[in-house]
Every structure is written in structure tokens, then in C-alpha cells.
């Protein structure tokens, strides 16, 4: 395994089984580097969602070691986990917007959880809604949003608190190819600001849309890396800036 100091996520011999079934993930070892863009591909049932659940701390592995931000998250006391989760943004496959909250309140949720005052969060949330093109729908309930709008709201919520890692499970699963590319541009823009991005998809056409991306492939619970990305640190220049803090972005966000 390479220099742990420069890595943001490390899996070592991770295995996962649900109950007493066979392992759905076995011998998973890899290192993710800050500021890189990863795709996780594999057939349906290969274990992509399961691996992302390990990544966003919704699931404990049955064996192996997972460290994130230089901490062994498996042995970390339970009351420290929320702190780690706040550094991870998640786009769920089914969005999971809170149904009785407006788009604005959904997107503001991570900031409210982290205790930001109401007056301080108004502007970043408004900016973020504008960025994803939902400023005119900020008072709408999720059920009144179109599929693509819901997707963008979910993405806005995932990135509003400037997470250090963004985990997205089939974020383009339910939208047309045009929208899929548009959403990918969002992730790229975020990635350029220093966020490590992990996108699970079974859409192989998507992989070519992000030139600098690294590809992990899951096959029946085993990991392979066709580009060799996981064995060597990425060749391309990493962004020289610091990792984004969890504070509100001071920088200009790119337009959609």
C-alpha cells in the first residue's frame, strides 16, 4: 500500500457478507487519493452499492480494515462517526430527499446539522440552488419536482457542505443522456475544486466522458482495476490548493 499520508481512503482486505450468506465483497484492497475522480463499475449485483455503503459508513465490513482521513473508521467510537460523515457527501440512488421539506430546506439540511446559523446559510444555499439551476424551485416540495430536478437537488445537498469525498450511487441512472452529461460536469467542477469523487455506474459510456477519471471494476465481489489506477498514485497533477474545508465556499462556484 502506498503512502497513507497522501491517501484519503484505504481499504485493506475488506470483506462483506450480509447475515450468514456468502461474501458479496471479498478481498477488496485499494487506495483513493485526494482530488481524484473515480468510477466504480460492474454488473448489476456485483456489489457496487455495498461498497459505497462501506464508503459512506452505512455498513460495517465483516472483515478487513477501512481507514478514511487517516483514521481507522472501524474501531472509531460511535460518537466520532458523525464527524467523519460530515466530511462525506452522498448522492443516494433514490435521492432520499426529505418529502415534507422544500428544496431549499433539503439542500440546507447538512448545514443545519453542522450547526450553521440560519442567516449564514441563506446565501450559500441560494447560490448552490442557482448553480444547479433550481433557484426558481426553492420552495417546491420534492414530489412536485421532475426526476432530473430531484437529482440535482440531491446533488446540491450532497455538495453544499463542501465534503472532502463525494460518493454518488448511479447518479445518472434515471435521467436522459443529455442530463447525465450535465450532471457529470457538476461533479467534474467539484472535483476541480479538490473534492475526491467516487461515482458508481453501470453505464460504460459515461466513463469516457471524464478524461482524467480512474476506473475500478467490481466483478462478483472482486475488485479489478483495468487502468492500474489503484496500484499507482494518479499521474495527473493534483490540485495544488488545500482540501476544501467544511465551511461555506469562499470561492466562486462555476456556473452550470
Amino acid at each position: 500500500m502506498s503512502d497513507p499520508e497522501s491517501s484519503i481512503v484505504q481499504f485493506a482486505n475488506v470483506g462483506l457478507r450480509y447475515g450468514t450468506d456468502r461474501e458479496v465483497l471479498s478481498d477488496i484492497s485499494f487506495t483513493l487519493y485526494p482530488g481524484s475522480f473515480y468510477f466504480l463499475t460492474g454488473a448489476s449485483g456485483a456489489g457496487k452499492t455495498s461498497m459505497l455503503k462501506l464508503l459512506y459508513l452505512a455498513q460495517r465490513p465483516s472483515r478487513g480494515i477501512i481507514s478514511m482521513f487517516g483514521e481507522d473508521v472501524i474501531t472509531l467510537p460511535r460518537n466520532c462517526l458523525p464527524g467523519v460523515r460530515r466530511r462525506i457527501g452522498v448522492v443516494f440512488q433514490d435521492f432520499r430527499l426529505v418529502p415534507h421539506l422544500s428544496t431549499f430546506d433539503n439542500v440546507a439540511l447538512p448545514l443545519r446539522i453542522s450547526g450553521m446559523s440560519e442567516e449564514r446559510l441563506q446565501k450559500p444555499v441560494a447560490d448552490m440552488l442557482e448553480w444547479v439551476g433550481l433557484d426558481h424551485r426553492s420552495e417546491a416540495r420534492p414530489e412536485t419536482l421532475s426526476g432530473g430536478e430531484q437529482q440535482r437537488a440531491a446533488i446540491a445537498r450532497a455538495v453544499i457542505a463542501r465534503p472532502e469525498i463525494l460518493v454518488a450511487d448511479e447518479p445518472t441512472g434515471n435521467v436522459d443522456p443529455e442530463m447525465a452529461v450535465k450532471l457529470l460536469r457538476l461533479f467534474e467542477a467539484l472535483n476541480r475544486l479538490g473534492t475526491t469523487v467516487v461515482v458508481a455506474t453501470h453505464d460504460v459510456h459515461l466513463l469516457r466522458k471524464v478524461p482524467d477519471s480512474l476506473i475500478m471494476r467490481l466483478d462478483k465481489g472482486k475488485l479489478s482495476d483495468p487502468t492500474g489506477a489503484l496500484r499507482y498514485p494518479p499521474k495527473r497533477d493534483l490540485p495544488k490548493r488545500d482540501l476544501p474545508s467544511r465551511d461555506v465556499p469562499q470561492r466562486e462556484l462555476p456556473r452550470k
Binding site: Y56, L57, A58, Q59, R60, F69, G70, E71, L76, P77, R78, N79, C80, L81, P82, G83, V84, R85, R86, V90, R96, V98, P99, H100, L101, D105, L109, P110, R112, I113, S114, G115, S117, E118, R157
Partner: protein, 306 residues
Amino acid sequence: MSTPSPIRRGAPRFGDSARLLQQARIAGPMPWVIAIMIALTVMAAAAGLALNNIAGSARDEIAGGITVQIVEGAPIERDRQAERAVSYFSNREDVASVRRVPDEELSALLAPWLGDVGAAEDDGVPIPALVDVRLSGPVTAQRLRNMRDELLAQAPAARIDAQASWLGPVFDAVRSLQFLAIGLIALLALTSAAAVWLAARSALGSNRETIEVIHHLGGTDGQIAGIFQRSIAWDAALGGAAGLLLGLAAVFMLGQQFAGLGSGLVAGGGLGPLDWLAIAAIPVIGIVLAVITARLTVIAALRRMI
């Protein structure tokens, strides 16, 4: 990289956390359930406290009390023996006070049962003479027996009774009623806790998605439990206030009826300031109980998520 530290309680709370819960609050049955529980508890507590006061004041009054009846048909002989009894007790050192109950008082006391006895006296409805004696110290069976023997030598028509002895069964009944009230209160508290537990669980169920999302976005157990606590505290405060009013109304109405009886025994059952304070504390205790129950329920459910 900085070591992750636990996110402490007291730190972030949600601005308007109530909106995170889907459940409309007044519409739910929760405040009504709590209101009924609190009303019943208030009534049971008021009854228990009143009984306690009745028992206490009656005990004070009759401790050391002896009643002597002179059951003698001939008025003159009756008066003679009554006077002897009075002088017998007056000469004893262990007697605090002796009083012959005047005949007018006696007939007034008996009027509700026997009609105007004063007038009937001449027609031969005999009423006994009563002597009220208060001993210093408690009335033991031994003391009573000695006094009875001595008194009978002078006033053969005397019947002597310790007031405590004929009130004994009443005391026993009052005590059982008190235990009943305490048992009722305990049962009501248990039922209330169970009701809150069920309500918290159903709220947890209908908000499961929201909770999972907040959990995954880095919400702490304390924050999530806090949302429920505040919602339930509000329900409980509402229900508690309604229940207190309901319970007090019932207590006042019963109190009026008992006051109407004008019985000396019940008059001792009035509630003092401390009693009212204890009754006022019931809804507060109810709220605290509800909040603790809700917290424990939610935290236990959250522990099942990693």
C-alpha cells in the same frame, strides 16, 4: 489530518427542528392520551392526599380520646352518674380534659336521626349522657380496663370506649384506599410511559427515512433524539395542561360535594398548599417522563444503525 472528535451534545441543534418530523402534532392522539393519564393521576393523587389528611387530623383528634356513655333511662339517676363520672376523671392525674357533652348539643347531634329528641324526652325516648375525656398519652387496652373497673363501681350505667378503637376499622379502610391511590398512580405512570413509548416508536417508524438521511448526513444521535424529545415535550405539555385542568375540575367538584356533607371527618380532608404543589408537579413529572421515554426509545433504535 486532524483526529475526528466526538460531536458533543449541546452543540448543534436544528433551527426549526420540528419541521423535520412529518407527524402533525395536535392531530395525533398523543396529547389526548397524555391528558387522560394526567387527569386520572391528578384525581388519584388528590384522593390519596385528602385521605392522608383525613387520617392525620382524625388521628390527632382522637388520640387519647375516651367516650363515656351513661345509658340510664331515669334522667335524674343518669345526671347523677354522669356527674360522678366527670368527677372521677377530673381527679385523675393522667387526664387532660373532661367535658360533659351538654344535652342540647347531644340532641342537636341526634336530631337528623331521631327527630327533635329534646321534645321527645318526656315521651320516654332515652338518650344517654355523654362524657368526653381526653387522656394525656395514648389509650392502651390496660389503662382502659383499669378505668372501666373503677368507674363501674361508681357509675354502673357507664359504658367506656376508646375513640380510636371504634374508629380502627375506618383507619384501616382509609389506609387501604391510600394504597389503592398509590397503586393507581404507579399504574398510570407505567401506562403513560408505555403510551409515550408506542408513540415515539410509531413516530420513529413514520419518519424512518428522514432519520436515516439525517444520520447519513452526519446528524448525531443526540440531535435526532432531540427532534423527537422536543416534539413529544410539546405534546406532553399540551396534554399535561389539559389533563391538569380536567383533573382539577373533577377534584373541585368532588370537594364541593364532600363539603356539602358537612361531616367533621371529611372536613379534615382539605388539601393544603403543599398538596396543591404536589398535584401541580404531576404534569411536570409527566413531561419529564415522556421526554426521557422518547429519548431512550429513539437512542435505542439509532444504536441499531452504525
